[in-house]
Amino acid sequence: MAEIKNYTMNFGPQHPAAHGVLRLVLEMDGEVIQRVDPHIGLLHRATEKLAENRTYLQSVPYMDRLDYVSMMMNEHAFVMTIEKMLDINVPIRAQYIRVMFDEITRVLNHLLWLGAHALDVGAMTVFLYAFREREDLFDCYEAVSGARMHAAYYRPGGVYRDLPETMPKFETTHKKNIKQVNKLNNNRQGSLLDFISDFTTRFPGYIDEYETLLTDNRIWKQRTVGIGVVSPERAIALGMTGPMLRGSGIEWDLRRKQPYEVYEQMKFDIPIGKEGDCYDRYLVRIEEMRESNKIIKQCIDWLRINPGPVISINNKIAPPSREEMKGDMEAMIHHFKLFTEGFHLPEGEAYAAVEHPKGEFGTYIISDGANKPYRLKIRAPGFPHLAALNEMTQGHMLSDLVAIIGTQDIVFGEIDR
């Protein structure tokens, strides 16, 4: 009888379920996976090295491109580290705006994750439903920063500008007549806050729609329950954070454990799983979207009644207003210095982390007192998760591998950096 041997199969980097450029070398026994060997680096853009040659402000947009589905959260970690080293205060209104946009970003990320995960498991429609809502949230990004994805909105010392009083509106084209356009613009008549507020009232209904398609679906359950189980002990040992850790039943959330900005004032629950399988992580993330929605609502209520500055008045860090520059020599000089030389960070090092949708996202800066970092290290949550892939897929089938990659919520921008 012929000897039966395992065979090696290449999964990706061009594969619909590879979430970008993941390459896996699989050792398979029929359909059953024996070993998974992730190969990374196909999206390496040397962000950390590039940051060493740019001023701190110039590096902010690079952060957007790390995890390109939760843009503002990446910026947040970076500007927080800078603020920590400079020891400056961020105006309270800016903190609320940051928290609100952090949660909008979390919803954005989880929507993409949900759609992509469901698509990996074979349910097409959730993907398009999720993108319908992402469209509205991108409009919020656009209204506030001018860019739909790579916002560069957070700045050391606050945010770039205050929330706009008007929402961008649709215009008529040869495909859309005035009636259709008016329908689309119906909830865009007021300010950005009105639009977000309208979204938060609609959004729980949308989540119910996704849940109708998935949560009690027998096939969905068969595909996710008991797949990729991680015990609480192993989850900690493997360095998991975020929903991956909470799915295993450990209540760890930086927003609660090491509160930053105004998270202390927010009322929200931290959902945790029980079994640590794909289904629990799915439920955790769905619940997180509902919690984020609550936080956004609380921020809106506060922001409506509390006007104020949104960026530090310390002109050594934050640029003076345009108006001021016209008449004030001092302001002109500050502006010139900030956008040519940039600001200097005191000698030393600091680490600051935020509760990113995917886990703990932190940046570590070592400064030698220059206007650019001596070394920047980015702690990407996806990296340890991907490292755990081999352990999570042991004894599962090829189809489960796809489900597990989906549940890990991997984005290569941050893993390869």
Binding site: P16, V121, G122, T125, L128, R223, S399
Partner: protein
Amino acid sequence: MEDILFNYFPSAANIIWIILKIIAIVIPLMISVAYLTYFERKVIGYMQGRIGPNRVGYFGLLQPIADALKLMFKEIILPTKSNKFLFFLAPILTIAPAFAAWAVIPFDIGLVLADVNAGLLYILAMTSIAVYGVIIAGWASNSKYAFLGSLRSAAQIVSYEIAMGFSLVGVLMCANSLNLSQIVLGQSGGLSQWYIWPLFPLFIIYFISAVAETNRAPFDVAEGESEIVAGFHVEYSGMAFAVFFLAEYANMILVSMLAALMFLGGWLSPVEFIPDGAPWLFVKVGFLLFFFLWFRATFPRYRYDQIMRLGWKVFIPITLFWIVFIGIMMQTPYQGMFH
């Protein structure tokens, strides 16, 4: 026309007449396959809050023709290490049975190419052959993804063939015939006489097996877009790929047609005051086809071993039980319910 043909070319007339009949079946079939793809894209599009194709022609109605033209002009790439003969045999072997099975499908009383008595067996035989096309395609491509896809497909089709066969046994017990026209005529007498009522469990199992048999979502593991990319036809391009596509959709129409004939009374009208006729059959088929598309838009994909479990441990026992149940009921005074 028949008279002219038989008067002027008596020797070849019979063959020409049959060929004309075949053309009269295949051409509309090809057109309905093309427009089924359009219908699918539109239906799923609206289910997902999109519009679907709307650029080529009014409402995108020329889209299938544009797609066909594009595929025809594409190069057919032959993988270096593939077996050339088998590589080209596979698509032919897939599409031939999908069309051949139509020979015994009756569209109305007497409107059938070959009114053979073992029509049902013939169809079962033809649909079974289709699996060879898939296996050979995966094997000849000499690619691991294609090979996995063909293995999955082989196991799946063979298992579901059994459940499907058993549910058809129930039909022939009721109808006392293997002739499809006879089966339809056995259901005459309005909506209440259709076999769907006494054979309801078998109808459900037949329909689900039909979805599995045609490799459609949620049983599309052989294609498994997100797992093994395109499965058995990953190495095919151009028209060779299109032939697999055609076969898949022709099979969908075929199994829906069979379900309509055997469980839903074929061309018979559900109510007395509207006459019977072929349009009824097309309405029923269209209704069943809609379900195929609806499933695709709604369900996640099964895992390969779960499909096997469903087929062997759920469907086959249920069909066996129901066949025995029908058999017993036929010996009791209630036999009228089962004809």
